[in-house]
């Protein structure tokens, strides 16, 4: 830029005021001096026209639209989060979650998802089949289930009955019985002699005090009893008293019914 003064204004001053002039902020005497310098200075006059033209060209440029993927790539390269995924929870209205929804989300839906699997359906079918076969074999009908008593007294009664049946079954086992018989024999051998029959007769009807003796009366003492058996004799034979007869020793094993 030439360094000269024209109409009281230096070219450097003109250059400094050029932007203000184009911005429209120059006024008054300063504007007059500026315009006078522009008219008289051969260098600054064209400069004003060119600067104004250049500014008008630039003002004609409109903003360009950035690519649609720009925001997504920026977010992916900075936070590593996709913008759509980021935007979704922010815009979504938070629904009111009840305890039923939570139960459904935490328990029912997983269970239902498991039930819907063919593997579970197959297992359930097999279990049902096995249960129905088992009930049929045991003679239990579905209608009997409704007859099961539910009152506490009935349940207690059923419990004791079941317990008694189990005890009876246990006691009636052959092995158990044999073991018990051996134990009793050993006990009897070791124990002193039993009281006389007269005493037994007096207490014959009183079984409450000696239940085991009553039982032994029929079974436990058979080991030592000798049962006489007689063979049929012919009519010509005389049956003499104190004659030697064959003696047969019989041991019986009876079981409780």
């Amino acid at each position: 830029m030439p360094d000269q003064t024209s109409n009281g204004m230096h070219c450097n001053e003109f250059d400094a005021l050029l932007t203000d002039m184009l911005d429209g902020v120059l006024s008054g005497a300063e504007l007059d001096r500026f315009q006078a310098h522009a008219r008289s200075c051969k260098a600054c006059g064209p400069l004003l026209a060119e600067a104004e033209a250049g500014r008008n060209w630039l003002k004609g440029l409109t903003e360009v639209e950035p690519p649609a993927s720009l925001v997504t790539s920026i977010l992916a390269s900075t936070t590593g989060v996709d913008s759509q995924r980021l935007r979704a929870p922010a815009r979504a209205v938070q629904p009111h979650i009840t305890w039923l929804d939570r139960l459904q989300a935490s328990f029912l839906e997983p269970v239902w998802a498991m039930v819907r699997q063919p593997r579970f359906a197959m297992s359930f079918g097999m279990a049902f089949f096995a249960l129905s076969v088992g009930l049929t074999v045991l003679g239990i009908k579905p209608g009997d289930i409704a007859k099961i008593p539910t009152s506490p007294t009935a349940i207690r009664h059923t419990y004791y009955n079941a317990q008694a049946r189990v005890v009876r079954y246990y006691d009636n086992m052959r092995l158990v019985y044999q073991v018990q018989a051996v134990a009793r024999r050993v006990k009897r051998d070791v124990a002193p002699a039993e009281p006389g029959p007269s005493k037994q007769k007096t207490n014959r009807n009183d079984t409450t005090q000696q239940p085991e003796q009553k039982q032994d009366r029929n079974y436990s003492q058979n080991d030592s009893h000798l049962i006489l058996a007689s063979a049929p004799l012919g009519p010509s034979e005389v049956y003499p008293l104190n004659r030697d007869l064959p003696v047969v020793s019989v041991t019986t094993y009876r079981r409780f019914v």
Partner: protein
């Protein structure tokens, strides 16, 4: 231009790790930064890459922003300008204002700017004509030296005031005004020469 409190709040939230706040900042400034990069670099693909780099740099240095030192938009523009200068140095596109008859690109078979306009003369559609003029001005802008180009882009395309531009360019206001005047004048001379050849 920007609500200082809102932007400061966004920045604080972003520094605290709020991803939504960072997305708001990106949504707020991506258009501006992309346009600066596009007008300076000249091509859309370069502008996209540069804008992305600007935001990456912003994201990493967001905690260094000091609201007392200036507006957030000035800080953002400064980062953009610094990155554009680095990019310009890397690509060695240190081109001073050239004749309109020089090829606009490095390709040997590329047409000069005046020939591009001549080949596309007198289109019937006004919209097409306006778009062509816009492309011509954009091409001429790319012929300016980087110092003049950045000054006119920030002033005439981004509407920044001289003080902000001086802060971004780290030069006095007088230098900013001088560069703007020279840039506008150089652009006008380039375009006048072009249209004189077309006519």
């Amino acid at each position: 231009m920007e609500d200082v409190q809102v932007v400061s709040m966004l920045v604080r939230r972003c520094i605290a790790g709020d991803a939504a706040a960072w997305e708001e900042i990106v949504q707020m400034y991506n258009r501006r930064i992309y346009n600066i990069c596009y007008r300076f670099a000249g091509s859309g693909s370069d502008a996209e890459d540069l804008a992305q780099e600007v935001f990456i740099k912003m994201y990493r240095t967001l905690s260094t922003y000091d609201p007392s030192k200036g507006a957030f938009v000035t800080w953002v523009t400064t980062i953009t300008r610094n990155l554009l200068v680095d990019h310009f140095r890397k690509t060695k596109q240190d081109r001073m204002t050239d004749s309109m008859d020089t090829a606009p690109s490095d390709h040997e078979d590329a047409q000069p700017l005046s020939e591009q306009i001549q080949d596309q003369s007198a289109p019937p559609d006004v919209h097409v004509r306006r778009r062509e003029v816009s492309e011509t001005v954009h091409a001429a802008l790319g012929r300016l030296s980087p110092e003049l180009r950045e000054a006119v882009i920030l002033r005439d395309l981004q509407d920044m005031d001289y003080k902000e531009i001086a802060t971004v360019l780290k030069v006095p206001e007088g230098t900013v005004k001088s560069r703007i005047n020279r840039g506008r004048g150089e652009l006008a001379r380039l375009l006048q020469r072009t249209y004189r050849q077309v006519m």
